[in-house]
């Protein structure tokens, strides 16, 4: 090995150690639930001091659209405005129970030191999984985050599957599990806490053609955590 090459290698390793935050990392999201589906995921790195949601604060209109109908278009605009780095819909659609999807992010040359991940849970009125603004690790390794389901606080958890997914429209847009219950009269009125909070879970019932809910208590309930998010820094 000549001296010039050795000098170049030293320079390169210094350059790798230099940045305060990892520039390249992967984010693997696993749906841990027994029978809840995730709508398209948004995996976003964003600057210090910014966030997509905050427990105890009202949901933004963009978060509401994601939580009630699975629409991440508004949040994509939000992240773009922040100068963020993101991967939209790494699963290519719904992420089924037990399945995983991976997003590779490159934040080289940006100030995007925080990571957030969101997606709606189906069948629910406005539940979403949320990883909120963790500091992207800098040292090589794998970092595991188990995250709970939040309630956007924007819609009554009536548990009626009626296709209602637009912001402000009551009801659950879809039940991918195929249970197909109908005729529920409504499990609840508006949330006592209208701000973002940890979801209290589904009520459900065992009546496929009536009862208060179109959610099946034997199938669709969950216990936290609902998602495992593994950040890998090479």
């Amino acid at each position: 090995m000549n001296d010039r090459l050795r000098g170049l290698l030293c320079f390169t390793s210094l350059a790798i150690m230099g940045p305060a935050s990892a520039a390249q990392f992967s984010v693997d999201v696993t749906n841990l639930t027994h029978s809840n589906w995730f709508t398209p995921l948004l995996v976003a790195a964003h600057p210090d001091g910014t966030s997509l949601f905050m427990a105890g604060q009202p949901a933004s209109a963009e978060l509401q659209a994601m939580a009630e109908g699975g629409d991440i278009g508004g949040l994509e605009t939000t992240v773009t405005a922040l100068g963020g780095s993101m991967v939209s819909n790494p699963a290519g659609g719904l992420l089924a129970p037990g399945q995983s999807a991976t997003a590779d992010l490159d934040t080289d040359g940006t100030a995007n030191v925080l990571l957030s991940v969101v997606a709606m849970l189906l069948p629910t009125n406005d539940a979403f999984l949320g990883l909120n603004s963790i500091v992207v690790p800098t040292a090589p390794g794998t970092y595991t985050f188990d995250v709970p389901a939040y309630d956007a606080g924007t819609e009554a958890n009536d548990e009626i599957v009626n296709g209602g997914g637009a912001p402000g429209a009551p009801g659950i847009p879809a039940d991918p599990s195929g249970v197909g219950a109908t005729g529920g009269t409504g499990a609840a009125t508006a949330d006592a806490n209208p701000n973002v909070h940890v979801h209290r879970g589904l009520l459900g019932d065992t009546d496929a053609a009536g009862g208060v809910s179109d959610v099946d208590s034997r199938v669709h309930r969950w216990l936290n955590p609902v998602a495992r998010i593994v950040v890998t820094v090479e």
Binding site: L32, T33, H34, R218
Partner: protein, 242 residues
């Protein structure tokens, strides 16, 4: 080639130094191979639930390859046996036969709610790097719920240090969660444990979704509100002694 040359020169220097030494070269007496240094660990598990006995524990120390389950993949037959009936025999036997496993321990018996059991584990020091610990136990009075640890690395622990974890409940995915008396072993149901049929909604491991119970509208359930649970269901501590 430059490295080779450098090594040769160092060798010459060492020889010169040795030649200048007036003392006789030390005599190394023939001896038995040095004893293998062991690192000792204590692993304890505490049942945090209200009314869920934990079945006799299967504890496995292993390398980075062994894994007794993965979320999203079908449970092995030995995990199915443990999760449906609480019988750890096959999981221990499979681990013992696995070249990626360092050692195993079996629990002395059922750990009742609030109870704790501790295990001592000795691992050869040269095997600690890369060593991981897994633990499996059934939540009794369920169809196929289990909890434990899944490949916890222990090499970074220093002597006297304790790692504490709370464990969450998984569903083996091998049996429909009917909660019917005939299908759940244990004091609440007294029913069947293992059954080779796989009749859950999907045949792979996920998180457990909890117990509905008869008190919450599932009339065919043998369970009452006493059997409901939230995560975490157990606390596990790993302490390195030396």
């Amino acid at each position: 080639m430059r490295y080779l040359k450098t090594s040769s020169m160092l060798g010459v220097v060492a020889a010169v130094v040795a030649a200048c030494d007036n003392n006789d070269p030390p005599v190394t007496p023939p001896s038995a191979p040095p004893p293998i240094a062991m690192s000792d660990f204590t692993i304890s598990i505490t049942n945090l639930t209200n009314a869920r006995p934990l079945s006799p524990v299967a504890l496995v120390a292993h390398d980075s390859i062994y894994s007794y389950f993965r979320v999203g993949e079908p449970a092995t037959a030995e995990l199915e046996l443990l999760a449906e009936s609480g019988d750890n025999t096959d999981l221990i036997a499979a681990a013992t036969a696995d070249s990626n496993v360092i050692t195993t321990r079996q629990g002395a018996g059922v750990i009742p709610p609030g109870g704790t059991e501790s295990f001592d584990l000795s691992i050869a020091a040269n095997q600690v790097t890369g060593a991981r610990i897994s633990l499996a136990t059934m939540l009794v009075n369920t169809n196929d719920a289990f909890t434990g640890l899944n490949g916890l690395p222990i090499a970074s622990l220093s002597a006297g240090e304790v790692l504490g974890f709370t464990a969450i409940a998984y569903d083996a995915g091998t049996e429909d969660d009917t909660e019917a008396a005939a299908t759940i072993p244990g004091p609440a149901g007294g029913g069947e444990g293992f059954n080779v049929a796989r009749d859950d909604r999907a045949d792979f491991v996920t998180m457990h979704s909890g117990a509905v119970t008869a008190d919450d509208g599932l009339a065919s359930s043998a369970l009452t509100s006493q059997h409901r649970f939230l995560n975490p269901v157990a606390r596990i501590e790993v302490m390195r002694i030396n």
